[in-house]
Each structure stands twice: as C-alpha cells, then as structure tokens.
C-alpha cells in the first residue's frame, strides 16, 4: 500500500472526528479548562459536547473532574498524558499524509 494512504488509514479515529479534534486541540494548548470554555470555543451544544467528551474519556484521552465554583457546579477537563501523546502522533501522521 502507498505510504501516504497507509498513514491516513492509521489516523486515530477517536481524534479524527472534527468535533473531538477541536476539543483535543484546544485542551492540548492548556493545562485544563472547563466545559463552558469548550462550549464557547467550539460552538457545540451541551449534548454534543458531552457525547464527544464521554468518547474521549472512554479512550483515556480526557480526564473529567466535577467540582464547584462557589455554589455553581463546574466540570473541569484535562488532557491526559495518553491523550497528549495520541494527539502528537495524530498530527505527525496527518502531516506525513498531507
């Protein structure tokens, strides 16, 4: 198989989905953020964002911590080491494929 095509076939499908790619790219650049920030930046509704985050959490890429800001519930999100490594690999393979 052509090397370029093989690289595309090897792309991490958990990250490759556009919505999840946005989330991972944003979280990669920070230490952690909350649900509201991701909603604001991605423009997704709560249901869609929750669904993508659950998928990323299942894959072990994102750590979700439920906490409180004063009396208001806050969901903090953090890209795990596995998530960071997966995103680095994803970018490398995508660059090679392009």
């Amino acid at each position: 198989m052509n090397q370029h095509i093989q690289n595309i076939a090897e792309l991490d499908r958990v990250i490759h989905e556009p919505g999840r790619l946005m989330i991972v790219a944003l979280l990669f650049a920070v230490e952690r953020s909350d649900f509201l920030y991701l909603q604001h930046e991605t423009g997704m509704n709560k249901g869609t964002l929750s669904s993508h985050l659950s998928r990323l959490e299942e894959a072990g890429y994102v750590e979700v911590v439920k906490t409180y800001r004063g009396k208001i519930p806050q969901t903090l999100l953090h890209l795990t080491d596995a998530g960071r490594e997966a995103f680095v690999q994803y970018r490398r393979k995508l660059k090679e494929a392009l």
Binding site: A25, R32, Q74
Partner: protein, 228 residues
C-alpha cells in the same frame, strides 16, 4: 492542518478576550510613568530614587494589577465564557523572553544605527526608545491584535507614536524632564523620551483594553446557573 494549528493558538488569544490583559499592561505603563515623573521632578537624594522605596512600590503595583486581573477573570470572564488554566511555562517565559529579546534587539539596532551609519545620533537616546516601541508594536500585533481586526489600528497607533516621539526635537523631549535635578546616569532627553513613550503606550493600551472590556460585556451573557 493549518486550522488545527490555529485552533491550538486560540487559548492564548482567549487570555485577552475581555481586554483585561491590556488594561493591566496599560496601568503598569502609567505606573512606571508616574514613578519616572516623580524621580525626574525630585532631587537626586529624594526618597523616589531609593531602591528600597522604588522596588517595593513596583512590586505593590504589580500585585495590585495581578489581583485586579484575577478578580475580574473570576467574577466576570469565567462565568460568561469559561475558565482556562494555562501551562505554567506559558504564563511566565513568553513574556520574559519577549521583554528581554525586544530590549536587546532595540539596543542592538540603535547601537548599529548610531555607530555604523550615524543614524539618529542627533536624537540622543530617543532612537532606542522608538525602536523599543516598534518592537513592542510588533509583539502586540502578534500576541493580541490577531483577536480582532480593529486592534491592528492599536498596533499601528503604538508604532506611529514611537516614530513620532523619535522625530520630536531633542530639546522638546528633554524639556519634559528638564526640571530634574537628578535624572541620574541618563540625560534629560532620555528620561523625557522614556516618560513620553510609556505614557503614550499606557494610554493607548488602557483605551483599547476598556473598549475590549465593554464589547466583551455587551456580546456575552452568563449562562443560566443550572446550566453551568
């Protein structure tokens, strides 16, 4: 791929989405201007020239600005558009490196311009002040102006003011600090150019930050409590 790279830049730009970063820098510049003016207007042995007074004052100023910025973020920005915690190295090193690099580049350019080509030698130390301003304008354009198009006008204003200050007659710039009886190791022209520069940058940043803050408040709403 470019879109992914741009997306990764967004959290950095988010830091000044409310204009608080510019307000902080503006107050810092005006604080330095006040301190410089006090030093220029007081005799050499005055309290404003003592390190044990100047240093705590600068630390106090930085602490107040830091506390104010954090308070606005906590009570205004985070409830409206979300909380972001930056990586530690992202907070400190880029600013420190940018400051040191801009100062070194400006001094190097000024030295080369004066010693090799004789450019600006009649302007005394106003040339380095203008170069620092131009580097500052470039750093502002890269770090902040990418958020909104109108901020390119702010970068342009900073650059223009830097050039105008450099082109002002040396006597006029020096007259600002001429009443000084103790400008220390620096000439009245250098003190005047520095004072004029930081006053101008401070005012521009304050205006820009205030406009950003008002626009931010206008265009964002805190979500309902139950939805947070």
């Amino acid at each position: 791929m470019d879109q992914v790279e741009r997306l990764m830049e967004r959290p950095k730009l988010y830091n000044n989405i409310d204009g608080v970063g510019e307000l902080g820098m503006g107050f810092m510049c005006l604080g330095f201007a006040l301190l410089t003016w006090l030093q220029a207007q007081s005799p050499r042995g005055a309290i404003w020239h003592k390190v044990y007074v100047v240093l705590p004052l600068m630390l106090l100023m930085a602490s107040i600005i830091d506390y104010g910025s954090k308070t606005i973020k906590k009570h205004v920005t985070y409830p409206r558009t979300g909380f972001v915690e930056y990586k530690k190295r992202d907070n400190v090193w880029p600013a420190a490196i940018a400051f040191v690099t801009s100062a070194l580049v400006a001094m190097g350019l000024a030295f080369a311009a004066r010693s090799h080509w004789g450019i600006g030698s009649h302007l005394g130390l106003t040339t380095p002040a203008a170069l620092i301003g131009l580097v500052f304008a470039a750093a502002y354009a890269y770090g902040i102006a990418r958020v909104a198009r109108w901020k390119w006008a702010v970068a342009g204003a900073i650059a223009t003011c830097s050039v105008v200050i450099a082109m002002l007659p040396a006597e006029l710039v020096g007259a600002i600090a001429v009443s000084t009886s103790g400008a220390g190791a620096f000439s009245a022209g250098a003190v005047g150019a520095w004072l004029l520069s930081i006053l101008t940058y401070g005012a521009i940043l304050l205006i820009s930050g205030a406009i950003s803050f008002v626009l931010y408040l206008r265009h964002t709403q805190p979500p309902a409590t139950a939805a947070a």
